[in-house]
Amino acid sequence: MIDVAFVVFSLTAVVSGYLVFRVDSMIRASFLLLASFLNVGAVLVLLLAEYLGTALLFMMTVEMIVMALFMVMFMMNPAGLNPMSMVHQPRVAAVAGVVAAGGIWAVALFAEFPDAPVVDADQAVRDLGFELLGQSMLVFESAGVTLLATMVCAVVLSAARGRYGDGYEGSVAPPLDPGGDHRPEDDLVDDDAAGDHHHGHGGM
C-alpha cells in the first residue's frame, strides 16, 4: 500500500517537474512546480517525516502563489495562455541535466548504505524539536538571522528608490529583437525622450 502510494506520488512529482519546462504558460509552469513539491511533501509524510512534509506543503503553496504573481509581472503576455518557447543552449543543458541525474543514480545503484531505518517517528519529531529549539536554539536562530538578512537585502535590491536616485532612471523598454547586450544609452541616439520614461508605478 505504501509502495503503491510512493510510486504514484514520486511519478507525479517527476512528471509534473518535467512539464514545468514544457508547458506554454508560466502560470501552468508555476502550479506544476507546486504539484511537484506537494507530491514530494506526500513522500516525506510516507517516510515518517510528518512535520517536514506538512511544512513543505504549506510553505511551497504560498511560495508558488508569489511565484505566479512574479511570473506575470515579468511577462510580455499577462494571461500566459499563448504558446511560448524561450530556451537557449538546449544541448548543453540536456547533457548537464543527464550528468547531474546520472551522478546521483550512480550513487543510488553502486554505493553501500548503512541500514538504520527510523524506529520511532514520534521520538524523531521530538528529537528534531529539541535540535531546532533546544539548549541554544542554534539552528532556529541561524535560520532566523539568515531570513532577516534576506529580507533586508531583498528590500534594498528591489526598492524603487535607492541612494542613487529613482530605480527607473535611465530605464528604457527592451528592443523588439531579443538578445544581445542591450544598454539604455544605445537607444538614446535616435530617441531624445527616452531618458525620462517612467514605466509602471513601483506600487505592488
Binding site: S25, F31, L34, T54, T61, L69, V72, L81
Partner: protein
Amino acid sequence: MMGGDRIDVPSGIDPFHPALAVPVLLAVVGLGAVIAVILHRKVASSLAGTGGSPATSAAAPLREARWLARQQVVTTERPDLATWILAPAAYLGLAVAALSVVPLSAGVAVADVRTGIVVFGAAEALAIVVIFLHGWSPNSPYALISAYRFVAVALSYELLSMFVLIAAAIPAGSLSIGAIVDSQAGLWNVVRQPLGLPLWLVVSWGVTFSGPLAVVDSADLAGGGGVEDSGLQRLAWAGARAAMLVVFAAAGATVFLGGWQGPVLPGGAWMALKTAALLAVLVVGDITLARMSAQRFVRLAWAVLLPLAFLDLLIAGLGSL
C-alpha cells in the same frame, strides 16, 4: 492526508469509519451551505425592507439550483478547461478537508490529527491557488484581473490567519484542534485572546471573497472571476463558496468559542449553535460592509492588522506563562 496509524491523539478522539467520513462531511457542508444561502437572502431582504419576495423563500435556492443545473454551459476562446472545470470541485474539496480536522462534537472528528491547524492552514493556502486558477483559466480579462487582485489580498490575510491560529494553539500546547477545544474548558479563547476572533472574521471574508474583501466575483469587474461561468459551473462555484463560509464559521466557533463545549445541550447542538451564530455575523458583514479596494486592504493588512496579530500572539504567550 496524514494516513497511516495515528498514535495517541491528545484528546482521545476516535475518527469516524473512513467509509462514512466523506459522506458525513459532505452532508454537513451541503446542509450548511443551503442554510447559509437562505440566511443570506433573508438578512439581505430584511435589511433592504423587501421581505416576502419569492427569492427569499426556503425553496428558492434549490429551485434556482435546479434551473442553473439545466442551463447550457458556454466556454470562452482557448480557456484552460481542466483547471476551469476542476476549480469548484477543488474548492469544495478543500472546504471538506479543512472541516475534517475540526471536531464537530465531543470526540467526533474525522481526523483530529496532531498537526490539525497546519492542515487547516494548508487547505486555506491551497484555496488561494484554486480561486486564482478559477479566475485565470477562462482566458478572459475581467476574470484575470480579479484573480490577480485576489492574490494580492490573499497574501496579505494569509499571514493573519496563521498567527491567529498559532496563538490559539499556545494555551493548548498542541497543534491539534481537539486539544484547542479542550484548552477552552475554563475560559473561551474569545475572552482570553480578544483580538483573535475579529481577525478571524477578516480571514473568513477573505477566503470566501465576501463582505469587505469581495474582490473576486464582484460587480465592479462585471462579475470578475465568475464572469464567464455559466450553468452548472456557476452553481458549483456558488455552492462551494457557501460551503467554505460554513467551514470557516465552524472553525472560528471551535477555535474561539469553545467548540462543542457548553452546559445542558449535547456537544453537537452547541457546535451547531455557535457555528450558526458566527455564520450570521459573517453573512451580515457580507451584506452590510462595503468592499475595500485591494490596495487599501493590503496597506491595512500589513500596517495595522499584522501588528495586531503579533499582539494577539503576545497576549496568548503572556497568558500562558
